[in-house]
């Protein structure tokens, strides 16, 4: 069964996301900041990473994704965003942001599961 890493500084979001994923049979490991995040990724080698854009700093998640790609980590990344469309921090799907998909908070369980399954299928293919 696939292992999914959730990196988010909001414990409630981690809780809800974990529950949704576990109830659909996924295994989950979690971290609440980028440093812990690197650690669980190196240790557990997950099949998918769910990453929050804003942690301590507005761009923490974004920089973490860049660093992972620089480190040749090819694991698909699904990025959680909350203010994606607000002026100032706008992200589009491009080479600039090396992630595979976005999901907007608050999360709908169905949408999350759908995106997770799609990304995992891509890796298998």
């Amino acid at each position: 069964m696939s292992l999914i890493a959730i990196i988010d500084d909001d414990p409630d979001i981690i809780e809800a996301t974990s529950l949704v994923l576990k109830s659909r049979g996924f295994s989950v490991c979690t971290a609440s900041n980028p440093d812990e995040g690197y650690k669980i990724i190196k240790e557990n080698n997950p099949d998918l990473i769910i990453l929050d854009v804003m942690m301590d700093e507005p761009d923490d998640g974004f920089f973490m994704a860049q660093k992972l790609r620089r480190d040749k980590v090819k694991t698909p990344i699904l990025m959680y965003t909350s203010v994606s469309k607000t002026i100032g921090f706008e992200y589009g799907q491009g080479e600039m942001v090396p992630v595979d998909d976005f999901v907007e908070k608050p999360i709908s369980p169905e949408e999350l599961i759908e995106k997770v399954k799609l990304l995992l299928k891509k890796v298998e293919a």
Binding site: I87, P106, I107
Partner: protein, 513 residues
């Protein structure tokens, strides 16, 4: 003088001729004055301006030509005739050379004289008219020149850049501000400038320069330039028209909007942060509700209860945040409506501690109060100062350890009221200390992860202190505690002016918490 009768001066030493001419001219309606010798002639002729003068060439005292010269020197437009019986070609030429209008040979008939005089008077009128026109022209030229220099002074003294190009794209006018804003070392009048301007401005100007374009609108463009530092410029391009409405050129007004852009950026960033902070609890609560409502997740009753409790905590946090934001916005807009009164700072501190008494007791924190005597009152808004100390003390409690302590001291330090608040809490790392007053900054470490806060408390504290021209110093050691020292400026009372108002509060000081 134009409409009145002509004034004529007759200078002649020969009495018969002088008197005869005088009578003749008077009878013709002229106003006549006679001088019986050269010197008197000079005197009359230079005292006031005559329209015409008839001067005898040969006089015993002064030569007629000299009289002519003297009069002409003072009144160049007096038309002078030289009359003489010794008519010679040479004297005629000499007389004309030095300014005589005509030459009347003696003896002359009344008709000859009148004819000459009328001709001379016409000439006089022409002279005056041309002089008037000349003066008028000079005046209007002078006016234009001063208008130009006035305009130049105005354009040079404004901080916006002004650049005018003609329809060929050549510089017609520029001021020094435009030079600076565009980062040019040199602009020359007549220089072709289109190739040198930033692309965006060129493009706007070119629209006006199209042969068949009829543009009466101004066009604005904002551009970013990098001379030495990053500069944002707003360029407003407007057509300049001739008086007949035909196209003459384009005026470009350049405004430095760098500061405005900076503020806009900060504002956008703040809005973005606020949106994120507001959305985070909403997202968490909404996530929990979806899990509870979706029966497919099979959540136990205990878990449901936990989610609801956590949702409640998040919603309370959201409410705090909204209140803090309202406070900040109120502070931004209300600083001019604040109610300044004499405040007893001791009373405010004690009331604040009283207000937080439950939290103090729950953590079993010991509060040590040390107030100096004779503390003068502080002129400030009560709500703001109360808010300041509520935020400081609630932090000192929230981030303190159980059985910890808080020390409060109040003293006078030169022109400031000095309030020192020390806690035995979790302290701060040096890198966090630098950012503690930033909006939404919250130190993240193993101690803080279970403490809720909006990240606005100290930012509000800083805003209040700054608005009273005070200052705040922070000393902190991670895992040991923090000391906040607040300085608020006061007006020190003169000797003997210390009030007794504080006596009533003194006994409260010894209260135990």
């Amino acid at each position: 003088m134009q409409n009145s009768k002509p004034h004529i001066l007759i200078v002649d030493d020969e009495k018969g001729l002088r008197v005869g001419t005088h009578r003749l001219l008077e009878s013709e309606g002229y106003i006549v004055q006679s001088a019986e010798n050269g010197l008197t002639g000079i005197k009359y002729g230079t005292e006031r301006e005559f329209d015409l003068a008839i001067i005898d060439l040969k006089m015993p005292d002064v030569d007629g030509l000299e009289v002519l010269q003297k009069i002409k020197k003072v009144f160049p437009f007096t038309v002078c005739f030289i009359a003489t019986a010794f008519a010679s070609y040479d004297t005629a030429i000499e007389a004309t050379r030095i300014g005589a209008y005509g030459y009347i040979p003696k003896p002359f008939t009344p008709e000859e004289l009148i004819y000459q005089i009328e001709k001379g008077y016409k000439h006089r009128k022409l002279l005056l008219e041309s002089e008037r026109l000349k003066k008028e022209k000079e005046e209007s030229l002078l006016e234009i020149a001063s208008e130009k220099s006035r305009l130049k002074t105005i354009l040079e003294s404004i901080s916006d850049g002004v650049l005018v190009v003609n329809k060929s794209g050549e510089v017609v006018y520029y001021n020094n501000a435009s030079l600076k804003l565009l980062g040019f070392d040199e602009i020359k009048i007549g220089q072709q400038i289109l190739g040198n301007l930033p692309e965006e401005i060129n493009e706007k100007i070119n629209r006006y320069l199209q042969p068949d374009s009829v543009v009466n609108k101004s066009r604005t463009v904002q551009i970013e330039l990098n001379h030495n530092s990053q500069v944002f410029i707003e360029a407003v391009c407007s057509p300049v028209l001739h008086t007949d409405g035909s196209f003459a050129g384009v005026v470009i007004v350049l405004k430095n909007i760098t500061e405005f852009k900076k503020i806009e950026f900060i504002k956008n960033q703040f809005v973005s942060m606020v949106a994120h902070e507001l959305k985070a609890p909403v997202a968490a609560v909404s996530g929990f509700i979806k899990l509870i409502l979706d029966k497919s997740f099979n959540i136990s009753n205990e878990q449901q209860e936990d989610y609801l409790r956590r949702s409640g905590v998040r919603l309370n946090g959201l409410l705090d945040l909204v209140n803090d934001l309202l406070d900040i916005s109120r502070m931004e807009t209300k600083t001019k409506q604040r109610e300044i009164e004499d405040l007893d700072i001791k009373e405010i501190i004690l009331n604040t501690l009283q207000f937080l008494e439950i939290d103090i007791k729950n953590k079993n924190i010991k509060v040590d109060i040390n107030f100096e005597d004779n503390i003068p009152s502080l002129k400030a808004d009560q709500n703001e100062i109360t808010r300041l100390f509520t935020n400081i003390f609630s932090n000192a409690i929230k981030y303190n350890r159980t059985d910890g302590s808080i020390k409060v001291s109040l003293s006078i330090d030169k022109n400031y009221l000095k309030i020192k608040i020390s806690d035995t809490g979790i302290g701060m790392r040096p890198e966090d200390k630098d950012r503690m007053f930033n909006e939404f900054f919250r130190a993240k470490n193993k101690f803080t992860q279970n403490i809720s806060g909006t990240g606005l408390g100290l930012s509000i504290v800083k805003r209040i202190i700054d608005s009273y021209y005070g200052k705040i110093d922070v000393e902190s050691e991670y895992n040991v505690g923090s000391t906040f020292t607040i300085y608020l400026p006061i007006i020190l009372p003169q000797a003997g002016e210390l009030t007794t108002n504080y006596v009533g509060v003194q006994n409260v000081t010894n209260r135990n918490y």
